[in-house]
Each structure stands twice: as C-alpha cells, then as structure tokens.
C-alpha cells in the first residue's frame, strides 16, 4: 500500500537563456516502513523532487505537470493542503545541520514552537514531548540540553536535533536530503542507523536522497536512479546495484571505488579511447627512479593560536602532533583521516604554505622548511606542486586558461619564447584530455571535472617531482572522479611522479596509493602498505574506520 505516489512529475526552471528541465516525467511511489533511495549525480534532479513534495522549490522553478498523492490525497489540487501537511504529515531534513537551526533560539524553543503549531498541547505537555524526542534521537542529558543553543552542539548532535524537529509532530513521510554528506564517517554511520531504527519503530515512509552509493547500499530497501531529471532505473537496491540494467546505472556502479579489492584502472564506459596521449612526454625530462626517500618528515608539529574565541589564555590548537614518515621516490603515498586529523595541514607544510611550529621536512635530503633565501626556495618550489579540492576556487576566474598555465612557466623560465610557450601549453592541455581551444576560454566555462584537469595541467607545467593532491576528487561526481583518478594514475606512471594523496575517502585511497598513513587529531595512528592496512589493520581506530565506511558491496551481505 503506497503512502506516497509521484505521478508523471515535471519541474522546469525558466531562465533567461534557456529552460532547465530539472525533473521530467518522474514516476515512483514509497510505502510505509521502507526506505527508498534517490540517487544521482549533480544536476540529476533528485533534490528537486524532494523539494517538490513539500512545495519548497526555489524560484524560478515551477511544477509544469504531474501530480503527487500522499495518503491518497492530491496535494496540489488545493494549494492550502500542502501547508497543513508540512511538518504534520511530512518531515524533511537538509544537508547542513549548522545552517538549518536558528542560532538565536534555544533548541527547546524551536521544538516547542513546531509542536504547538500542529498539535494542541499546552506548554508543559509540549515540553515533555520535546524532551522525549531528544532522548529518542540519542541526545543524552536531554533535560538540560533542552535549553542549549544550537552552537553548543557538535555537528552530529545538531543533525540529531534537526531529525527530532522533523519528527516531532509525528509525520508519516520523512524526506532526508543528503543528511550525512557534511558529517564524518563515524558520525555518518550513527545517523544512518538512527534513521533506519526510526523508520522501523514509527513505520515511516522514507526517501533518502544522496549521491553516495555506499550509503544507498547500506541503508535503503529500494533505489531510484536519476540522471538529468529522468528516472533511469528503479527497483530493489540489491538488484539495481548488483545487476544494473540501464547503461547509465551500469557506468555509475562501475565508477564507484570498490572497498574490497584493488583495481588497476576504473572502468569508465563513456571513454572514446583508453589510450592516453601524453604529448608532454616530448619535453619532459623524465627522471630515473632511484630507491631513495624523496620526502622525509621528522617530528612535525603545528599549533595554531585560537585567539578568536578565548580571551586571556589563548588556547593553542595542536593541529599536527609529532608526525614522522617518509615517501619513496616514484611511490604514491596516502594520508587518510577525518576532519581535524591534520592531513591538510601536513600537506600545506610540505608545499610551504605554512611554517611548522617545530620539526623538519626534507626534500631530496635538503631541509626545506628552514630555507630563507627566496631564490633557493624558488628552485624547490618548481619541484613540488599541488592540486586542490575545490575546482571552483582553485582557478582565478578572471584569467584565461592560457595565462593560468603560463604563469608558472614564465616565472621559472623567463627566457622562453612565445611560440615555444604556446606549444608547451597546448601539449599540457592535450595531456589532460582538453582541447587546444580551451586555452582561450575562462574557467567558468568549464565543468568541475574539466577544471580539475586544468589544475593538473598547471601543476605539471614546471615538471615537478612531487605532486600533492589534496582531496582532488571529493567535490566531483562519482563518474568524473573515476576519470580523474585514472588520469592521475596514467600521469604518475608515464612521468615517474611521486604523489602524496590526501583524502578522507578510504576506498579511493585504496585504489590510488601504495602506502597509507592514518591520522587522527593530529597524531599518526598507523602506517602500512595499502593491502596490509585494509586486510590486516593493527590500530583500533583504523579498524573502526574500515568497519564504519559505507560499502557498496554490502548489498551482498545479509541484513
């Protein structure tokens, strides 16, 4: 018996230059007691569908056709209906718990307000109900925390508060829009457990919107795959993920990094030819690999003054605490950890964006963090380059791609002639699978994946020996991620690059790295060869991380 029925739903955004068809003839239903996953990459329309159910589509979007039935009531026939349903029959939670709560009202006040909007309870009863709810979502000491403000809760706790707010008036349908994307892996699994439990306990119909296949595999009963507004495939999760029928679903599933084995390259179905044309090899002075340590990090420590929030006694935040490791030339070394682990800080010290508080970093046997001479430093800068996580802020939007890539070349090679420069830049672009014409365009004309390619081209321009990759694919769709990771692997092999790969995503690191170091709160927990780490972890934190990470292979396990 379906509780929610979506019939032939289409949502359009009519804009200046074009009309965007965010959702086209979408059809599915959800029953009580089941979790339906709505999965897709960016622009798939999954969030749009979620917003359409409670009629909170951002302007200038409009539902152009179709209908939505909740408990057999057509909610759009009478515009007033949806307003009464919000909160009462339908609850929704959004991605970012930090911005979802009003910072000026206590958690209790926000709960009571919602409760009293829909249920006819006096203050005392409402308060009791609210406290019970907080306990139900797992907030200890609920009686006291009732009077706390949102900023007094940690990220995971805040999301629990958000869930309690969505459920406080006993809705029968819950829409969760990327509820765990902003949270750490360990917190993520707790929140997903909570949602599963609540579904069973309250017999909810749940729509879980996400882009993470692992989450889908572990949490949902059925899944609907969307691409560019169209529902591509729908069915029980085990079937759709284990035996996908649609082409798109197949390519999507194959792009997901496997958690249980190491593969050579990702199987990207759309690619025209699998041969990478590295034109720059013509000019690349490829160094022969010697078996030595390219990078040696000794007792590295970095602390920040947290002077903003504390007053007299400035609290020192120790971001990196006595970390030591080596990276062999030609190898791919991974730094893994959750937020606050210090992995980014270490990377930034290796590329000399920060100076360490104490400790040494050796590059090719020279201590680079103590160099004072600018010219000497410049020599080292050309050998160490970096690519970043956010494709949108890593390129200067006011500069043409040509100038962006030319900048490092011109700086280190002042005598280069114009036509030589042009040739070299074209070679670089082709090596990252972009056309020559890209050089004349501006960053905003490219997609996220293409921008990362430009960043890679820029990083390679000075022929570095070490390439630091700081979460380079975390902000990209899974299919694009596969392409970029393949590219990085190709480049490493052909150019004898040494790579320092930083990520929080364990399956990705497994595919990309030879050795891995696990960090937690600035301390080193474990260093080991990749396969050894995954099959035989010695540290308890590592074990915990491996246990909790969402695995797409879980569809084969019994629940």
């Amino acid at each position: 018996m379906s509780f929610l029925k979506i019939n032939n739903l289409s949502v359009n955004y009519i804009m200046r230059k074009e009309t965007v068809f965010a959702a086209q003839n979408v059809q599915f239903d959800v029953s009580k007691g089941e979790i339906l996953g709505l999965v897709g990459e960016s622009g798939s329309g999954k969030s749009t569908v979620g917003n359409a159910i409670i009629n909170l589509i951002d302007e200038p979007g409009k539902i152009s056709e179709g209908s939505i039935f909740i408990d057999n009531i057509d909610i759009y026939r009478d515009p007033k209906t949806i307003k009464t349903l919000r909160g009462k029959k339908i609850g929704i939670i959004f991605q970012d718990p930090q911005t979802s709560l009003n910072p000026l009202l206590t958690v209790g006040e926000q709960l009571i307000e919602t409760i009293q909007t829909h249920l006819n309870l006096n203050n005392g009863d409402a308060r009791r109900k609210a406290i019970n709810l907080l306990e139900e979502v797992g907030i200890t000491d609920a009686e006291n925390r009732f009077d706390n403000y949102p900023h007094q809760f940690s990220g995971g706790m805040r999301q629990r508060v958000v869930i309690s707010l969505a459920l406080c008036c006993e809705p029968e349908l819950l829409i969760a829009d990327e509820p765990t994307t902003a949270l750490d892996v360990s917190i993520q699994s707790q929140i997903l457990e909570l949602i599963k439990n609540l579904t069973k306990k309250r017999n909810l119909a749940v729509i879980l919107i996400t882009h993470d296949m692992g989450v889908i595999a572990e949490t949902t009963d059925r899944v609907a795959v969307m691409k560019k507004g169209i529902l591509v495939e729908i069915g029980p999760t085990k079937e759709v993920l284990g035996n996908p029928k649609a082409e798109y679903t197949k390519s999507l599933v194959s792009s997901v990094p496997p958690t249980n084995k190491k593969i050579n390259r990702f199987n990207v179905i759309n690619k025209i030819d699998n041969q990478v044309n590295l034109k720059i090899l013509n000019r690349w002075k490829k160094k022969e690999l010697i078996d030595q340590n390219l990078i040696e990090v000794k007792n590295l420590k970095k602390s920040f003054h947290d002077g903003i929030f504390s007053e007299s006694s400035s609290k020192d935040v120790i971001a990196v605490d006595n970390v030591s490791f080596n990276i062999k030339e030609g190898e791919s070394f991974g730094l893994v950890g959750e937020s606050g682990s210090g992995k980014s800080t270490i990377a930034k010290m290796i590329v000399n964006l920060f100076k360490p508080t104490s400790g040494e970093i050796y590059f090719d046997k020279v201590c680079i963090n103590k160099i004072r001479d600018k010219n000497v430093m410049l020599k080292f800068r050309r050998q160490i380059q970096m690519i970043f996580q956010d494709p949108y802020s890593s390129l200067n939007s006011r500069m043409k791609v040509y100038d962006i890539i030319a900048e490092p070349i011109r700086l280190h090679n002042t005598l280069i002639k114009d036509h030589e420069l042009k040739d070299y830049i074209n070679n670089l672009l082709e090596s990252v699978e972009l056309t020559k014409k890209s050089a004349e365009r501006y960053p905003h004309e490219f997609s996220g994946g293409q921008r990362q390619r430009i960043s890679i081209a820029r990083a390679l321009a000075t022929q570095p020996r070490l390439l630091v990759c700081d979460e380079p694919t975390s902000a990209l769709d899974v299919s694009i991620q596969a392409q970029i990771l393949n590219l990085l692997k190709d480049l490493q092999e052909q150019l004898n690059l040494t790579i320092l790969f930083i990520s929080h995503d364990l399956p990705v690191v497994r595919q990309m790295c030879d050795r891995i170091a696990v960090l937690r709160y600035g301390k080193l927990c474990e260093i080991s060869d990749t396969e050894n780490l995954f099959l035989n972890p010695s540290n308890s934190y590592t074990k915990e991380l491996l246990d909790l990470m969402p695995k797409i292979e879980s569809i084969y396990e019994t629940r």
């Binding site: 929704i92 911005t99 009003n102 307000e113 919602t114 809760f153 008036c169």
Partner: protein
C-alpha cells in the same frame, strides 16, 4: 579616547600660536610673555599634556579665542539643544526606518515597496541642507505654520533648558528633526531591507517553513530577531552621525546648539572650542559603542555562551 585627547591637544599647541590668536595686534611683547607664563605655555610639552587631561576631565577647556568666554560654559549652554534635537531625530529615524525596512524586505516586489525605495534613494541624494531649505520654504514661507529658526521658548530646569515643555518649543523642533532624521532614515531602511532579504533566504528559514510554521511567525519571530543584530551596531553609529550632521541642521535653522558653535569655531580658527568639541564627540562615541557592545551581549547567545567546536 586617549588618541582623541592627544589630537585635541596637538591642535591646541601646534596649530598656530595660541597667544597670537587670543590677543589682538596691539598687545605688547611684554604682555604676551606674561600671558605665556600664566597659561603655562612655557612648560615642557608632556607637562602641558597632563595638565590638559586634568583640566579636560574636570570639564575645563580654556577660553574661547573668539568669544572670550570659558569654553565649558559655552558647551553647557548649548549642549541641551543639540541633545534634544538628536534624540527626537534618532527616534524618528530608527522607528520609521526599521518599520519601513522590514516592510520592504518582506514584500520585495510590491508597488508600495518600490515607491518607498525610490523615495529613500531620493533621500540619500538630498543633502541635509537642501532638505532643510526645502522644508523651511514649504512650511514657513509658503504655508507659514512652522517657525523657520530658533528654538522657541525654553523652560529652565536648572542645568538643562528644555524646549519640550512649551508649544512653541515643540513646533520649533519639528522641521529640524525631520531634516536631520531623513538621511539616516533612508540609510536604515535600505540596510534593514537588505538584511531581511538575506535572512529570508537562509536554510533555517527554509527549514522552519518545511516544518509548517506560519509565514507570520517566520517573519517576525525568526527573521526579524536575526535581522536586528547588525541593525543595533548601525543604530549606534547612526546616533553618532546624527550628532555630527546636526552641525548642518543647526546652521540652516539657526538652532543654538553645539554644532553651530563648532562651525563658527572652524571659520575663525577658534582652537579651544574645536578641541573641546572633539573631546565631547569622542566621549559620546565611546559611550555609544559601549552600550552597543552590552546590547550585543544580551541579544546574541553565541557571544554570551561559549560553544563546543
């Protein structure tokens, strides 16, 4: 505060020779020398500075060059006039500004909103003195219902002479206060509007709507409360600006306040008045900032209570 005191003091000592400014051409060298000794101008600079501060905290600022009266006397005479004017203008600007700002922020594209915005833009483009002249022309010359200068009759309450308690006093304050408040009011309207519009786009407003909370409650309880925080700072600065702009208004309406005094002082390079005015203004600003900080502390719980992070 100290910085301002120092600036005032430097004005005093370094800008022109005080003696030359004070006495006429005819005074003999001997008399000038005697004056120097009496005024302590021959002492070392730091000593003079300390004396300046001591005197300042006692309220003594020396004698006006031009008017030959003690500055502190002049100030206490004129202060009530300026303060009353500023008070009324501040109330008008804040109340009207916040109300209209909220209205235009919530009803973004309505016809009334656009009219209000158009008028407010005009208000920012009208220099205060033009408004003053216009109002005088309209109400005094053509319609003849309101006085065009002066303060009307005042009631002496001992140290404070107030114009609030007489009819002519109240009549007299209408035009100048409207003039003074107009510029600030338009500024506040635009600011509050921008704040409201930005807040209504935030996630927590969206979440509140998704929970079914009524639009009214959202606007007044959630949005407004958050929107008022930056307005408080601005309101504080505004009062300071009003005090400054009163200079202009007082000139146009010949309102006998401190601003008028200051303009004369600038024209005639009357240093003691200038430095005294500076010190007073600085004091008022420091007080306002202090009050604003305290208000912030009470309104924003993030400042009051330390969070976890």
């Amino acid at each position: 505060m100290l910085v301002v005191a120092f600036v005032s003091f430097s004005l005093f000592t370094f800008v022109g020779d005080p003696i030359n400014n004070m006495v006429g051409e005819e005074t003999s060298e001997k008399e000038r020398a005697e004056l120097r000794v009496t005024l302590g101008l021959n002492d070392a600079i730091p000593v003079q500075f300390v004396r300046f501060i001591k005197n300042a905290s006692k309220g003594e600022f020396g004698i006006s060059y031009q008017l030959r009266r003690p500055v502190s006397e002049l100030i206490t005479e004129r202060l009530p006039a300026t303060l009353e004017l500023v008070f009324v203008s501040a109330v008008i600007a804040l109340v009207a500004g916040i109300l209209l700002g909220v209205y235009t922020g919530i009803n973004r594209d309505s016809f009334t909103s656009n009219i209000i915005l158009g008028v407010s833009l005009l208000g920012v483009s009208l220099p205060t003195f033009v408004i003053g002249i216009l109002l005088i022309y309209l109400f005094s010359v053509i319609l003849g219902i309101l006085p065009s200068f002066g303060r009307g009759e005042v009631v002496d309450l001992g140290f404070w002479k107030t114009g609030f308690l007489t009819l002519s006093g109240l009549k007299a304050i209408i035009l100048p206060s409207i003039t003074l408040s107009l510029f600030q009011m338009t500024y506040i309207i635009r600011l509050v509007r921008a704040e409201m519009m930005e807040i209504l786009q935030t996630d927590y407003i969206k979440f509140a709507r998704a929970r079914g909370i009524s639009e009214n409650k959202i606007q007044y309880r959630h949005a407004l409360k958050n929107g008022l925080i930056p307005v408080i700072t601005i309101a504080g600065i505004n009062i300071g600006t009003l005090v400054a702009f009163s200079i202009i208004t007082e000139t146009v309406f010949q309102w006998p306040g401190m601003g008028f005094l200051f303009i004369q002082a600038v024209k005639f390079v009357d240093i003691p008045i200038m430095s005294a005015y500076l010190v007073f203004i600085a004091f008022i600003f420091v007080m306002i900032n202090f009050i604003v900080d305290i208000l912030y502390y009470f309104i924003d719980p993030r400042i009051r209570i330390k969070g976890t992070e």
